[in-house]
C-alpha cells in the first residue's frame, strides 16, 4: 500500500487533536504512516505521535520554524514530499494547515482537496468528500492526475480510530531556509482560554435574543462547565455582541462538533449551513416554529435566560458524578 504523510500540527508544543485523528485513521487503514513534525525544540513530541500509530516521524527543527509561516513550512514539506513520494499527504484544515497545504499542493503540482469531511480508503483508493455552499451540498473530489494527492480534513470529521501504538523511527531533516520572503514576528494570544469554535467538541452558540454582549455571560458559564467554545449567529455578531471570529455560518466558521447547542437562534439558512453537520444538535428557543427545531435532535421551547442557567447547574451535577 502507498505511504501516507501527515503534517502533525503543533502550537506552543501542543499537538492538534485533528492530527491525531488523521494518524490513527491512516495507521488503522494499514498504510505506512509517516508524520512531519516542524518546530524548534519539539523532538519530545515524536513519542506522542508514535502512540497514535505513526511509524516514522520526520523531524524538522530550526529557529525559523519556531513560529509558523506558510512559506517556511511549504519549503520543508515540499522537500520531504518529493523525497518520500507519498500517495497521500494530509493535514488538518486549520489556519496553519489550510494556508500551507495549498502552497504545498501547488508546488508539487498535485491535486488538492481542502476541508474534507469524509475519507474512505479501499486499499489505495481514497474516496474524499467535501462540503460546498457551507454544507448545503456535499460532493466527491475526483483527482485527475497521478502522483501525491494533498488533502486537508476538518476537525472532528474522522473521530478517533483504534490504532496500534508504535515506537516511531525519528528521521531528522536537514533544513535550508535561506531566502525567505516572509517572516513570523510574533503571536498575540487571544483573550480567552476557551477552545476555538472550529476545534471544540462542544459549541454553545447564541443569537441576537441574548440582547447584549453581557447576555452571553450565561452561555460562557454553561460552556465552561464542559470545556465548550462559545459561538454566535451573524445577527449577534452584526449587533456587536461577539467578535466575527466566533460567528458560525456561511460567512463565518463552519463547525462540526459532537454537540452544538443553539440558544435563541432561529435558524436562518446561512446559519444552518455552518453547523448542520454537528453530530448532536440542541435548540433552545421561545418560538416553537423556529426553523432551528427542524435540524435539532433535542428541542426545548423555553426562555433561554431561565433554561441556560438551569442547564449549567445540571451539567455541574453531571460533572460531580
Amino acid at each position: 500500500m502507498a505511504k501516507v504523510l501527515i503534517l502533525a500540527e503543533q502550537r506552543d508544543g501542543k499537538l492538534k487533536k485533528t492530527s491525531f485523528e488523521l494518524i490513527q485513521f491512516c495507521a488503522k487503514s494499514g498504510h505506512e504512516t509517516h508524520v512531519a513534525l516542524l518546530g524548534d525544540g519539539v523532538a519530545g513530541l515524536a513519542n506522542e505521535l508514535g502512540a497514535q500509530g505513526a511509524k516514522v516521524v520526520h523531524l524538522a527543527e530550526a529557529p525559523e520554524l519556531a513560529m509558523y509561516t506558510a512559506e517556511a513550512y511549504c519549503k520543508v514539506l515540499v522537500e520531504l514530499a518529493k523525497s518520500l513520494s507519498p500517495g497521500f499527504f494530509f493535514a488538518a484544515h486549520t489556519p496553519t494547515g489550510r494556508e500551507a497545504m495549498a502552497l504545498v499542493a501547488q508546488e508539487l503540482e498535485a491535486g488538492y482537496a481542502s476541508d474534507c469531511t469524509s475519507l474512505q480508503f479501499q486499499g489505495d483508493n481514497l474516496t474524499a468528500r467535501r462540503p460546498l455552499y457551507a454544507g448545503k451540498a456535499i460532493a466527491e473530489v475526483e483527482f485527475l492526475g497521478t502522483g501525491t494527492r494533498v488533502l486537508t480534513v476538518r476537525a472532528n470529521a474522522l473521530g478517533a480510530s483504534a490504532a496500534t501504538a508504535q515506537t516511531p523511527q525519528v528521521q531528522k531533516l536537514s533544513v535550508n531556509l535561506a531566502g525567505l520572503k516572509t517572516k513570523g514576528l510574533s503571536v498575540v494570544k487571544g483573550a480567552t482560554a476557551r477552545p476555538d469554535v472550529t476545534e471544540a467538541a462542544i459549541v454553545i452558540s447564541g443569537g441576537r435574543s441574548l440582547k447584549s454582549a453581557d447576555g452571553f455571560k450565561i452561555l460562557e458559564e454553561l460552556a465552561d462547565t464542559v470545556g465548550a467554545a462559545v459561538g454566535a449567529s451573524r445577527a449577534a455578531v452584526d449587533a456587536g455582541f461577539r467578535p466575527h471570529r466566533d460567528q458560525v455560518g456561511q460567512t463565518g466558521k463552519v463547525v462540526s462538533p459532537s454537540l452544538y447547542i443553539a440558544c435563541g437562534i432561529s435558524g436562518a439558512i446561512q446559519h444552518l449551513a455552518g453547523m448542520r453537520t454537528s453530530k448532536c444538535i440542541v435548540a433552545i428557543n421561545t418560538d416553537p416554529e423556529a426553523p432551528i427545531f427542524q435540524v435539532a435532535d433535542y428541542g426545548v421551547v423555553a426562555d433561554l435566560f431561565q433554561l441556560v442557567p438551569a442547564l449549567t447547574q445540571e451539567f455541574k451535577k453531571l460533572k460531580e458524578h
Binding site: 501547488q106 451540498a137 503571536v187 433535542y298
Partner: protein, 257 residues
Amino acid sequence: MNIYVCVKQVPDTETKIKILPDKSGIDLSGVKWILSPYDEFAIEEALRLKEKNAGSTVTVVSVGPERAKEAIRTALAMGADNGILVDAPEGADGALAAKAAAGAIKKEPQVDIIFTGKEAIDDGAAQFSQFLAKNLNYPCVTVVLGIEYGPGKVQCRREVEGGAVEMVEATLPAVLAAQKGLNEPRYASLPNIMKAKKKEIKTYSQADVGVSASDQKVRLKNFELPPPKQAGKKIAGDIATQAKELARLLREEAKVI
C-alpha cells in the same frame, strides 16, 4: 501603485441548493449571483491603498463564465479602475483559475500588491490565494485582519485559532487574503454605478493566458444534499424538568456530555 484584486462570483447565501439529476453539480437556474462577501474587504483595502498613494490604479480580475462580469462591475462601482475577465467554464477548479488569473496579471506592466478574499463562499476551499501566489512566485498571507504598509514590505495581522493573532512580515509584491474585520467596505455610489456600467472589461480566452483544460487538477462529482435530519425530540415540562431531562438525554442517549 499597481494594485490588483481577484474576485469570484458566487450564489447568494440564501440560495436553496438543488442537485442536478446526474449529480454532476448544482442546478444553477434561478440562482442569484453575488460578489463573494470576503472579496468586498479585498476591494475596500485596495481602494484605501489607492487613496493613500496618488496615481495608483486598482484592477479587478475574475476567472469564470460571462456572468462573472457582474461581479467585476460591482467592484468597479465601488471605485476600482479596470476590469479583466478570463473566460472559463462552470466547474473550472482552483488550480486552473489561479493559473488563468496569474496569466492575465503577468500581461500587465507591473504588480505591487494583490488582494483576495480569504475564501469564496461557494466551495469554501481557501486555496486560490496560495495557488495564485505560487504561480507568480510571490509570498502570501491569508486571513488578514490588519495591514501596516512599509517600503517594499507589509506587516500583517493574521487571525488564527482561539482569537490569537500572528504578526507576519512579507516582502512586496505579495498576495494578501482579506478576512472580515480588515475594514468596513463602502457602498457603491450612484455615479460610480453608472460609470461602471459603461466601463469596458478586458476579456481573455483561456488560450490568451496560457491555460487549457489539462490544468484542471480535480473535478467534483456525485453531488448530494446533506442527509435529512430525523425529527428530533421536544422536551416538555417546566424549566427545572426540561433542564434535567435535556442533561440526562445528552449524557445517556446521545452520550456527548
